[in-house]
Symmetry: C2
Subunit: 189 residues, 2 copies
């Protein structure tokens, strides 16, 4: 019988594509086996478990996102950088909803620490270099930005803003304007 040439990497990439097609929560070892025209048990030589698969997809997505973000931030500062970073997240979520959901998959602490999560925190901090904030306000601002980006993208994906005026692109621009204004004018305690 011909071999299918499975590897953890190929399975992870296919799993990520599957997530984008059917949703991350519906990614299943069985479905993946079907796509490779292979029996389910065969995947267990390459993956420890279903959770392992999901973890790998999550790490892949985090990495891709961090790469895009680093790219977008190169040579930008201030509001330009803020917008660029925000758009990277939002665009990625729209192009790759399953991967984006995967990036939010809860990892155990060591795995998370080893992954690209740290790069993300770093990149957001880099954006804030363009604003006049000192600790601990800088950390507060990092958390605020993370919350807005993630919150907005989730609500948009869930259809929370759907089909009502004004359109969601308009709101997104105005929200970024507002965040920029806020960061330039961060209130004293």
């Amino acid at each position: 019988m011909a071999r299918a040439g499975l590897t953890a990497e190929r399975l992870t990439r296919a799993g990520a594509d599957l997530a984008d097609e059917v949703g991350f929560e519906r990614v299943t070892v069985s479905e993946l086996a079907r796509r490779f025209d292979v029996k389910v048990a065969s995947l267990y030589s390459h993956l420890k478990s279903s959770q392992d698969l999901k973890t790998r997809i999550a790490l892949l997505a985090l990495e891709e996102l961090a790469d895009r973000a680093a790219d977008a931030l190169a040579g930008r500062a201030g509001k330009d950088a803020l917008t660029a970073l925000a758009d990277v997240y939002r665009d990625y979520a729209r192009e790759h909803p399953g991967r984006y959901a995967a990036a939010r998959y809860r990892l155990d602490p060591e795995t998370a620490a080893a992954g690209a999560g740290v790069r993300h925190a770093h990149l957001t901090r880099a954006v804030l270099r363009g604003y006049d904030l000192t600790e601990p306000d800088r950390t507060h601002a990092v958390r605020l930005l993370g919350s807005v980006f993630h919150g907005y993208i989730s609500l948009e994906a869930e259809g929370g803003f759907s089909h009502s005026a004004p359109d969601t692109q308009e709101t997104w621009s105005r929200v970024l304007d507002a965040l920029d204004a806020l960061l330039r004018n961060w209130p004293a305690p």
Copy 2:
């Protein structure tokens, strides 16, 4: 054989409790049956499906949340109201993580329209009456608040801010200060 006295309502409440204990994604018809010391099939006289159960839990959570929010907003305005509403969401999520997750469960449009989702939008709009915003900025602001609340609470629940200074309560206060300042000083386009 003695009857267990199952009803959709009791099952829904027990399901919500189960969600708080083990996480919404691990709520299962089987586990619920175990808790009532009853065979799984018996639940299907009261619930259409596993999805039906989850939907009911989601609607329960949305209702509870809206009740709390309405309560908290009574007699408050301005920053007071903003803080009160924000704290309702955050406290509910911390007391009832499973229910909070359920409240984010994706419902089909008609079910959502029939549920308490509308009340939530209304309550956020009510908070903004204390600020000097006109349409479409008011809608932009509603969406921003929704994003921040949901985003912050998710990240906090996932442990995104965990164990690093400054503590998350401190950030939460400062974020609310910042939002208040922003709403009082919303930038022109």
